[in-house]
């Protein structure tokens, strides 16, 4: 099962390597990891996407909690939440396909953030399904390059973050 786990950590040097070292040292899998400061600058938030059966994910959250610099761990599996990821995709459609491609980007509420004689770069934000769908649709047009931020997630209003 794929789990999205958010980890509130002390904003200190070395914390990222404590977390990533935990995953590599114990053979856990990281699909994506994104980090940023929070409103409280002494605290950072990591969003980690990982896969494993119940026993493994239980170990992951317990092991994360055991790190001294980790303040709180939330597995979003049983929490109603919103998740988003941003992708930048550089596509090189043929001349005749350009308008069709732009329409497609528009349907997905993509923004063209760079264009040149040969390529368009589209910014797409959404959940996993939307991004996967867009990538599949755009693939025939010729993807030159793409980068993704990794997922971030937040609980919906009224959900207690325990």
């Amino acid at each position: 099962m794929r789990h999205t786990i958010s980890v509130l950590v002390e904003n200190k040097f070395g914390v990222l390597s404590r977390v990533s070292g935990l995953f590599s040292g114990r053979g856990f899998n990281i699909e994506s990891l994104s980090v940023g400061e929070t409103i409280d600058r002494s605290v950072s938030l990591m969003t980690i996407v990982t896969t494993g059966d119940d026993q493994i994910v239980e170990q992951i959250t317990k092991q994360l909690n055991k790190l001294i610099d980790v303040i709180k761990v939330v597995d979003f599996m049983d929490v109603d939440h919103v998740e988003r990821e941003m992708v930048l995709i550089k596509v090189a459609p043929r001349k005749n396909d350009k308008s069709e491609f732009l329409k497609l980007a528009e349907i997905f509420r993509g923004r063209i953030v760079d264009s040149g004689p040969a390529t368009f770069t589209v910014e797409i934000t959404g959940d996993e399904k939307k991004i996967a769908a867009f990538i599949e649709l755009v693939r025939p047009y010729g993807i030159k390059e793409f980068v993704r931020t990794g997922k971030v997630a937040i609980a919906r209003e009224g959900v207690k973050r325990t």
Binding site: E10, S17, Q59, I68
Partner: protein, 577 residues
């Protein structure tokens, strides 16, 4: 008042109640050693290798229950501590290790004797720090001691750049420690405790499995009370030896790979297994899918990650085992069960197993059996010595043939299995407990891994006894080669074993040797009578002797193999010098 970083550090150590530090000087820790030069309240024990310093601090911690401290220099000094830190980490031993570091300005420049020790020790410490600002120093030291000694204990490393110990700052001692990401659970959940008591009441064939957590938490008394109150037989893990009196009528000795036949049978036949301060290591469980098949498992431990890491658990109780056991005892005592009657047939069964296959070896008149040496040490020390071990056969015989009645009497590298641990640990234990008899049971392989610490023991007039079970082989590996690798003894024969008597004498220690069984007892008695110097006892033992019972790797723990050597002709025996 302004103080130098080095002075702040030593002041902090005094306030933490530190009396002894194990260490080794070097370039970037000169400021600290300079302060120690005049220091009256804290004694620095100079070892002869940084690994010796960490193991000594570890032995000091295990024997006394206090936090062990050591100070080493940067680069190689720091990297030499890694094995010792990992040893302490695996066995949850509270240590604070201070390593010097190059000045902050030079960090990352591959400066002389620079190593990223914080990076290197991250996976084998409970936590570690690089102090970049002298104003953080006192708080960091306070936090380190707090983290090392509370919750599930463990080693903490503090890296101290030279400019931090050389600089000056106002000394501010933080009275309180608060770390928002660190709040161990000390008390078990009430509902879980009631459940546990109920499961104990319902069970017909319960077994207590006591581990290192019992010793660390100081819960030996509570384990004994629970065992006696509800008449439950007890087995201990290697780390739990002494956590329940080995000579108690309910004791089944150690379980696992080299555990007793009856302990392993009892676990496999039990309907309830109460794991107390254990982590269900693979050396204990054997094949996990076949472990304790008929038992419900109650697992009590302060570390939630231990629970359901290796085996299924029916009832987890997270908390300090002493608190949890006290709470369970309260409930049990309310029940007033007729335990003796209920358990009668179960105890009878265990007694039958004990009679069927007790721990044994075949005594020989001509050649010394290593088990015989351990038995004699037990007898002559009247079971009261602090026993340290190296790793391998010596460790297993010391675990099997010495009965530990008190916690902190058994010091052995259980998790990491570090050869070279026992001798420096014995030095640390002797410093922590000056009046006690401290014996390191060693092999001729392991003792050579930190033999340089003879100098430390001689200089400090420490009467540490080392019993070398000298079989000329790396015995445990040789045993595996004999049993599983068609007797192909690849690189396990130590062709040159030094004359340990002469080595001891060269360092100013006493060296004694026993070649024949009747010489064993006089040698031990003479060694134990020496009070001002370390003693090496070189016992030339039967190299063919193996540790039994043995559960082969990957087998269930009741699939034990036993000694069947008697039937074979003794011709190989003659090949020994």
């Amino acid at each position: 008042m302004k103080m130098s970083g080095a002075e702040i550090l030593i002041e902090c150590l005094k306030r933490e109640g530190v009396k002894h530090i194990f260490g080794y000087p070097g370039g970037v820790v000169l400021n600290i050693f300079d302060v120690l030069y005049d220091e009256k309240d804290i004694e620095l024990i100079l070892t002869r290798h940084e690994q010796g310093a960490v193991h000594a601090a570890d032995g000091y911690a295990r024997a006394s229950g206090r936090t062990g401290v050591c100070i080493v220099t940067s680069g190689p000094g720091a990297t030499n501590t890694v094995t010792g830190i990992a040893t302490a980490s695996m066995d949850s031993i509270p240590l604070v290790v201070f390593s010097g570091q190059v000045p902050t300005m030079l960090i990352g420049n591959d400066a002389f004797q620079e190593a990223d020790i914080v990076g290197i020790t991250r996976p084998c410490t409970k936590h570690n720090y690089l102090v970049k600002d002298i104003n953080d120093l006192a708080r960091t030291v306070r936090e380190a001691f707090h983290i090392a000694s509370t919750g599930r204990p463990g080693p903490v490393l503090i890296d101290l750049p030279k400019d931090v110990t050389a600089g000056t700052a106002e000394f501010k001692w933080p009275e309180q420690v608060s770390i928002r990401g660190y709040n161990p659970t000390y008390h078990g959940n009430k509902w879980m405790i009631r459940q546990a008591a109920q499961m104990i009441a319902k069970s017909k064939k319960p077994v207590i499995m006591a581990g290192g957590g019992v010793v660390l938490s100081g819960a030996a008394k509570e384990v004994k009370e629970l065992a006696e109150a509800a008449t439950i037989p007890v087995t201990t893990t290697l780390m739990g030896l002494g956590g329940f009196p080995g000579s108690h009528r309910l004791s089944m000795g150690m379980l696992g790979m080299h555990g007793t036949y009856y302990a392993n049978r009892a676990v496999q036949d039990a309907d309830l297994l109460i794991g107390i301060g254990v982590r269900f290591d693979d050396r204990v469980t054997g094949r996990t899918s076949a472990f304790a098949p008929g038992a419900k498992i109650i697992h009590i431990d302060i570390d939630p990650t231990s629970i359901r890491k290796n085996v299924r658990v029916d009832l987890p109780v997270v908390g300090d085992v002493r608190n949890v056991l006290r709470d369970i005892l309260k409930v049990i005592r309310e029940q007033k069960g007729q335990w003796e009657a209920v358990r009668k047939s179960w105890l009878k069964q265990i007694d039958a197993w004990k009679k069927e296959k007790p721990l044994s070896y075949t005594f020989d008149k001509k050649i010394i059996k290593p088990e015989f040496v351990v038995e004699k040490i037990y007898e002559i020390s009247r079971g009261r010595a602090i026993i340290c071990t190296e790793v391998g056969q010596n460790q297993m015989w010391a675990a099997q043939f010495y009965k530990y009645d008190e916690p902190r009497q058994w010091l052995s590298s259980g998790g990491l299995g570090t050869m070279g641990y026992g001798f420096p640990a014995a030095i640390g234990a002797q410093i922590a407990c000056p009046g006690k008899l401290v014996v390191d049971i060693a092999g001729d392989g392991s003792i050579q891994m930190n033999i340089q610490e003879l100098a430390t023991a001689v200089v400090n007039r420490l009467p540490v006894k080392v019993a070398i079970l000298n079989n000329g082989y790396l015995g445990m590996v040789r045993q595996w080669q004999e049993l599983f690798f068609r007797e192909r003894y690849s690189h396990t024969r130590l062709d040159t074993v030094p004359d340990f008597v002469k080595v001891a004498e060269a360092y100013g220690a006493v060296g004694l040797r026993a070649v024949k069984p009747p010489e064993v007892e006089p040698v031990i008695r003479e060694a134990f009578s020496i009070k001002d110097r370390p003693v090496f006892m070189d016992f030339i033992v039967d190299w063919r002797e193996k540790v039994f019972p043995m559960v082969p790797a990957g087998a269930a723990i009741d699939e034990m193999i036993f000694d069947e050597e008697e039937k074979k002709p003794a011709k190989k025996l003659k090949a020994v010098k």
